[in-house]
């Protein structure tokens, strides 16, 4: 029952047009090696879901893989600034920007995890987001209260998360910040885990730190050391600023192809 596979094989199962939830946050523990491979496989029409994306979203936009982005924030944070390829994609009408408050992404994922078509959101009130986007609506509190904004469920076809440890069955353990990763594995139909380290079966039985992601939710496991790089991975590596800068210096999609091929050769 080993679910270990190669990254190219695991990602072949993801069809064009799939809705993908990507783990991590901005340049932290994003599943970057999987993102590289999605671009190499030239996926088309992906619908990305994330609270706060950065190079993952930007690279897939440059590669032409992206139909839409449901997110609260897309930027490299202050140091590297805005995501140029995401911006250009939206501004030129190639990429649909479904802006959320980060919390409404969480609420929409919770709705799916809880088997619900929508989730009420207490805080969303005076905002043009409500009028601009059809995934917001209102319901009335049947206990005599006021109208509430609700957000439509987001049910990703796949969640892709990078973790520090996993076993071959798919039990996966994240050290440090979880971000929305665990929720994503519960909201998505299928889960791909890339892991810094594959531990032997039974390892977690002897540990007091139980995996937050249980094997039966996971469809494929890929052993991928440095699988979050150039984003950071706690206990393993910080952000690789040179690599991010190298990506941001790419002029176009063609250059990206060569750049990805370079990295593919060294990685495999």
């Amino acid at each position: 029952m080993s679910k270990l596979t190669s990254l190219p094989d695991a990602l072949k199962a993801i069809p064009d047009g799939a809705m993908l939830a990507l783990g991590g946050n901005t340049l932290n523990r994003a599943p970057m090696t999987a993102v590289y491979e999605l671009a190499r496989q030239q996926k088309r029409g992906l619908r990305l879901v994330k609270t706060a994306g950065a190079m993952d979203v930007d690279l897939l936009c440059l590669a032409g893989c992206v139909h839409s982005v449901d997110a609260g924030f897309v930027s490299y944070e202050s140091h590297f600034g805005l995501c140029p390829h995401y911006r250009k994609g939206v501004e030129q009408g190639r990429v649909q920007s479904n802006e959320h408050a980060c919390y409404t992404v969480i609420s929409a994922l919770r709705a799916s995890a809880y088997g619900l078509p929508f989730m009420p959101v207490a805080g969303l009130r005076e905002s043009d987001l409500r009028k601009a986007h059809p995934y917001f609506a209102t319901v009335r509190d049947p206990f005599g209260g006021e109208e509430l904004t609700v957000v439509r469920a987001l049910r990703p076809d796949w969640a892709i998360v990078h973790v520090q440890q996993a076993d071959e069955l798919g039990n996966a353990r994240i050290d440090g910040p979880l971000y929305e990763d665990v929720l994503m594995t519960q909201a998505a139909r299928r889960v791909l885990v890339t892991a810094e380290e594959i531990v032997p079966e039974g390892f977690f039985r002897r540990s007091e730190q139980k995996p937050q992601i249980p094997h039966f939710l996971v469809h494929s496991v890929v052993h991928q050391p440095r699988g979050a790089s150039p984003s950071s991975c706690l206990n393993h590596y910080p952000v690789d600023e040179e690599e991010v800068a190298s990506f941001l210096a790419l002029p176009d999609a063609e250059a990206l192809t060569a750049w990805l091929n370079d990295r593919g050769r060294t990685a495999r």
Binding site: G72, E91, A101, Y103, R125, S127
Partner: protein
């Protein structure tokens, strides 16, 4: 010469009161440093909440890139995830949220979404992150922006990402506070003057009790050097 980043960090820190629960998100190095400063000086029991979920980090590690990274986790004293923080605010338990944006109006409205028409934006901005739900629910939303010009402080927003409980707006030139739904000029930072501010602000400057922002004290500067030797508070200015 007082650097704007030092002045802004100090003003933001002074706004934090002891014992308050305080959240900042991504791209928020100034509030992150302000929080550490406040805890070191006048607000030791303020609660530092962040995206990584580490409560009250000391940030002994100084990674420069992210204000949502695991340097906010490793020496934290408890776990409280981003979802937990949002939930806390939704139920009325968050005192302060630090948020930014690209356009601000005189009524506390924030645009972090786009420039131009929302159906065909000229510029796609990063998005408001938590703003749309935190600004209406936190007791006080404190805004900061490292630019102060007429494209930033505008009469009319291109898009209203959020409006709600904004209490303050801090820029490199001055500090506005909200009074009865209007942004009033509260204090002018050292080196700035009211004419410059008026010339760089797209909405009318009004005030009732205008002050000079006290410059950073020696104690504040010393504490800043100690908690932020890597000068993270200046990262937004470096990348301008």
């Amino acid at each position: 010469m007082i650097r704007p980043s030092d002045m802004m960090a100090v003003v933001l820190a002074r706004l934090i009161r002891d014992g308050e629960t305080v959240f900042h998100g991504v791209s928020s190095h100034l509030p992150m440093v302000a929080m550490l400063l406040a805890k070191r000086l006048h607000a030791p029991h303020a609660v530092h909440l962040n995206i990584g979920g580490g409560v009250d980090p000391t940030m002994a590690r100084q990674d420069g890139i992210s204000s949502a990274g695991s340097n906010l986790w490793t020496d934290a004293q408890a776990a409280f995830s981003l979802a937990d923080v949002f939930d806390l605010s939704m139920r009325g338990g968050l005192d302060v949220a630090f948020l930014s944006g690209v356009q601000f109006d005189s009524r506390g409205g924030v645009n972090a979404s786009l420039i131009g028409d929302w159906q065909q934006p000229k510029v796609r901005l990063p998005g408001g992150a938590g703003s749309a739900v935190l600004i209406p629910t936190a007791r006080r939303a404190i805004l900061w922006r490292t630019k102060h010009d007429k494209r930033t402080l505008v009469r009319d927003l291109d898009f209203l990402t959020a409006r709600g409980h904004v209490s303050d707006l801090v820029t490199p030139l001055c500090h506005f506070t909200m009074y009865q739904g209007e942004m009033l000029l509260n204090s002018i930072h050292p080196g700035a003057d009211i004419e410059t501010i008026a010339n760089h602000t797209g909405f009318p400057i009004r005030y009732i009790n205008l002050q000079r922002t006290p410059p950073p004290t020696q104690a504040e500067m010393a504490a800043l050097q100690h908690i932020d030797p890597g000068d993270l508070r200046n990262i937004e200015f470096r990348s301008l």
